[in-house]
């Protein structure tokens, strides 16, 4: 994927997050972590949590009762993104629509439920309706089923850069003509097993335990939610003259090591983005390797949009939210980089044109 490839355009945005279910950009407002009440914790524990809502009140006719929350959110977010893009799926060849979903932990809530049923009833007494809903690919499958989308359906994982990987894979499907339109989703849901792992591993910010202002937090505040983009090849975007374009993706790369600056410069193909949107891995961006890398690529004068704690809390699947929140802050048009680093875990970068 190089800058010489035809760009793909983001024409719709939807999300389910602690901001609620939203089509389009997210209004700028401060977000505070909330105390977890969905399960018993050893004292107050906080996270950026999606507040319960009726999916059918957002997407009429949507039934999510037996689904993992991640599947339900994927359905809602994809519906909102399609609406935001102004696409009437009845006018689209649905065999040419791909779904690409990024997740780190998949349907962890129903996976826990399946383990609980095994603990209670033995492995021979587990619930048949739960098992298929535990698969990491279940959310993407439901998106295809609900919207009748018969193109490629991909669920991708990557420890640090799952969201970026999904964007690059979706762009690749569009550029190779394997789809005309792609619904790209990324996200995760919190559950006791995941939150406890973070806690026992010592990764949580002090802000998870107290609402008092803290000067320089170590650790991070876990988050949950799903973001969705509608992505179209530029040819198709041109046909849909009424399509709104948030940004186009010109190129992208990721790697687990090597020389990030060198590899990213090669990917940029001579472009020097005037703005870097930091995606990231929980480190305070102002002093992080991500910022240093941004300056190495674009120089000291380039702008940097620091990541917001909510998106950082999504670990490897936060890229789409990082980009939505950056676009919501109304940056100037022009070339921008979406950039993430993870220490020894590598880096990911996309060259964008903000429109």
């Amino acid at each position: 994927m190089t800058p010489n490839s035809p760009p793909v355009v983001i024409t719709g945005i939807g999300s389910v997050s602690p901001y609620g279910p939203l089509a389009g950009l997210i209004p700028q407002s401060p977000l505070e972590p909330r105390t977890i009440t969905a399960w018993t914790t050893a004292g107050p524990r906080r996270a950026f949590l999606v507040q319960p809502f009726r999916a059918a009140s957002v997407v009429p006719g949507l039934k999510t009762r037996r689904l993992d929350r991640l599947s339900a959110w994927a359905l809602v977010a994809s519906s909102l993104a399609i609406t935001d893009a102004g696409i009437d799926l009845d006018q689209v060849d649905r065999s040419r629509v791909a779904v690409v979903f990024a997740t780190a932990f998949g349907c962890i809530e129903l996976t826990e439920a399946f383990y609980l049923s095994a603990a209670a009833n033995g492995w021979n007494g587990t619930d048949p309706s739960t098992f298929p809903e535990t698969l990491p690919s279940a959310p993407a499958s439901h998106v295809s089923m609900f919207h009748g989308l018969r193109g490629p359906n991909v669920t991708v994982g990557n420890k640090y850069f799952a969201g970026e990987t999904a964007l690059i894979q979706a762009a690749s499907l569009l550029r190779h003509g394997q789809a005309d339109l792609a619904i790209v989703l990324a996200g995760d849901a919190l559950a006791p097993t995941l939150y406890s792992w973070y806690e026992v591993a010592g990764l949580l910010s002090p802000a998870c335990y107290s609402s008092e202002p803290l000067p320089e937090d170590g650790g991070f505040i876990p988050s949950e939610g799903v973001a969705a983009f509608v992505m179209e090849s530029s040819g198709r975007g041109a046909i849909r003259s009424d399509a709104r374009s948030y940004a186009s993706i010109r190129s992208g790369c990721w790697a687990a090591g090597g020389q990030p600056a060198e590899i990213i410069r090669h990917m940029l193909g001579g472009s020097v983005p005037s703005l870097t949107v930091c995606s990231g891995n929980g480190a305070p961006c102002a002093t992080s390797p991500t910022t240093a890398l941004a300056r190495a690529i674009s120089g000291d004068g380039a702008g940097i949009i620091l990541p917001q704690p909510f998106a950082l809390g999504l670990a490897g699947t936060g890229a789409l939210f990082h980009l939505i929140l950056a676009l919501s802050s109304r940056p100037h048009n022009g070339q921008a980089a979406l950039l993430a680093t993870a220490g020894d875990g590598g880096f990911a970068a996309l060259l964008l044109e903000l429109l």
Partner: protein, 403 residues
């Protein structure tokens, strides 16, 4: 004229299966029609059924900071075998990509105790490391870290089509220039979680399965891993590599129909087959053999038969089809990669493997159900078909490296 920069070739194949390690081992076992499916009782208390297990092989051990799940172990062994057979040293792979599929992830490392009190479970020795292996992406990191590979890594999980899709997406990545060489495949072990799940769905045949038989009664689970070394023909030629096979076409579709059942007419799969042949620029007559998904479940096999009838309509002769899950079971996220290896084996050897225990096939006049003895014939092109829960389909077409 072939564009060597846009032609994807296989220059190494690594396999760990119930037959042992290596493609030659797999080939010897399958050509002798040895069935690895056997009565099993030890996967979890109370389970009685039939599975195919990898036994008696040395698998990578943990160190103080890294926990290999069984998924990771199988993947690393298959990758090691692929690298060893790729006619290049391991340093060649320093900047390579890794695209690994699975469905089980680190579920093998977790027991039911985690759900009751996760914090207490994690505080026991080495349980944090066990938990860290849970995400399905861990297997790509396990392969990458084990071999010091620093290129782009990701994992794919699309149920039983995972292994094939990892290969298809890796081919896309090579065309994109994301990496110059990629290890791509799938790995999945037997585990209580998935065996219990399929058991709860009443999808398991208690005896060795009989895919495509009118009296088929379900599937058997197996375990293993397969990894292909993929690169462009240009790169392979430049380093004078042995081209094992050419990946001539690939396609991915979704049924958009049901969580666990395929579309009964197999329409999504038929579309996928057509798209793969379009990419390969061949018609149905050019395909000499189909290695089918062929799970042995009533719904899958009839849908698949309908897909072949539709996609290969107009052929001069019935399309030869077999399911090699009758030899070593359904390896879930590894199935598509293992069956890609079997398909490559067929292209190389010209041996068309029969479906075992197939006595009374589904009536399909357009299909030549391979049964009985191994057939031998020149095989320029063969197809590997994968489908899965959630409606995913992936089709790969392999040609002889000599072509």
């Amino acid at each position: 004229m072939t564009d060597i920069h846009k032609t994807i070739v296989v220059t190494g194949v690594g396999v760990i299966s119930p037959y042992g390690i290596g493609l030659d081992c797999l080939q010897a076992g399958m050509l002798s029609r040895k069935c690895c499916l056997a009565p099993t009782q030890d996967v979890y208390p109370g389970f009685e059924g039939t599975t195919a297990q990898v036994r008696g092989l040395s698998l990578p051990a943990d160190d103080s900071s890294y926990r290999y799940s069984r998924t990771d172990q199988l993947a690393v062994v298959a990758a090691q075998d692929a690298i060893a057979n790729s006619s290049c040293d391991s340093s060649t792979f320093h900047e390579s990509g890794v695209v690994m599929a699975n469905t089980v992830g680190g579920l093998t490392e977790i027991d039911t105790g985690i759900a009751k009190d996760p914090a207490a479970w994690y505080r026991r020795p080495r349980r944090l490391l066990r938990g860290a292996s849970y995400p399905f992406a861990h297997v790509a990191d396990a392969v990458g870290e084990h071999f010091g590979i620093h290129g782009p890594r990701c994992a794919i999980s699309v149920a039983c089509a995972s292994g094939a899709m990892a290969i298809a997406l890796a081919a896309n990545m090579l065309l994109d220039g994301a990496a110059s060489i990629i290890l791509a495949g799938g790995s999945d072990p037997l585990c209580a979680f998935t065996l219990s799940g399929f058991n709860s769905l009443r999808a398991l045949d208690p005896n060795p399965c009989s895919p495509f038989d009118q009296n088929r009664n379900g599937l058997n689970l197996g375990e293993g891993a397969a990894v292909l070394v993929l690169e462009t023909l240009a790169r392979a030629s430049a380093r004078n590599a042995n081209v094992v096979a050419v990946l001539r076409g690939w396609a991915m579709t979704n049924d958009a129909f049901h969580t666990t059942a395929p579309h009964k007419e197999g329409s999504g799969l038929a579309d996928c087959i057509r798209l793969s042949m379009e990419m390969a620029e061949v018609g149905g007559d050019a395909i000499g053999y189909v290695n089918a998904h062929g799970t042995g479940t009533p719904l899958n096999d009839i849908a698949e038969a309908n897909a072949y009838e539709s996609a290969f309509r107009g052929r001069n002769h019935p399309i030869p089809v077999s399911s090699t899950k009758s030899y070593f079971g359904h390896c879930l996220g590894a199935a598509g990669a293992l069956e890609a290896a079997v398909t490559i084996m067929a292209v190389r050897s010209g041996a068309l493997l029969p479906t075992l225990r197939l006595t009374n096939p589904i009536e399909s006049p357009g299909i030549d159900w391979l049964k009985g003895e191994v057939k031998r014939q020149p095989l320029p092109l063969a197809m590997s078909v994968s489908s899965g829960f959630g409606g995913g389909n992936t089709v790969l077409i392999f040609g002889s490296g000599r072509s």
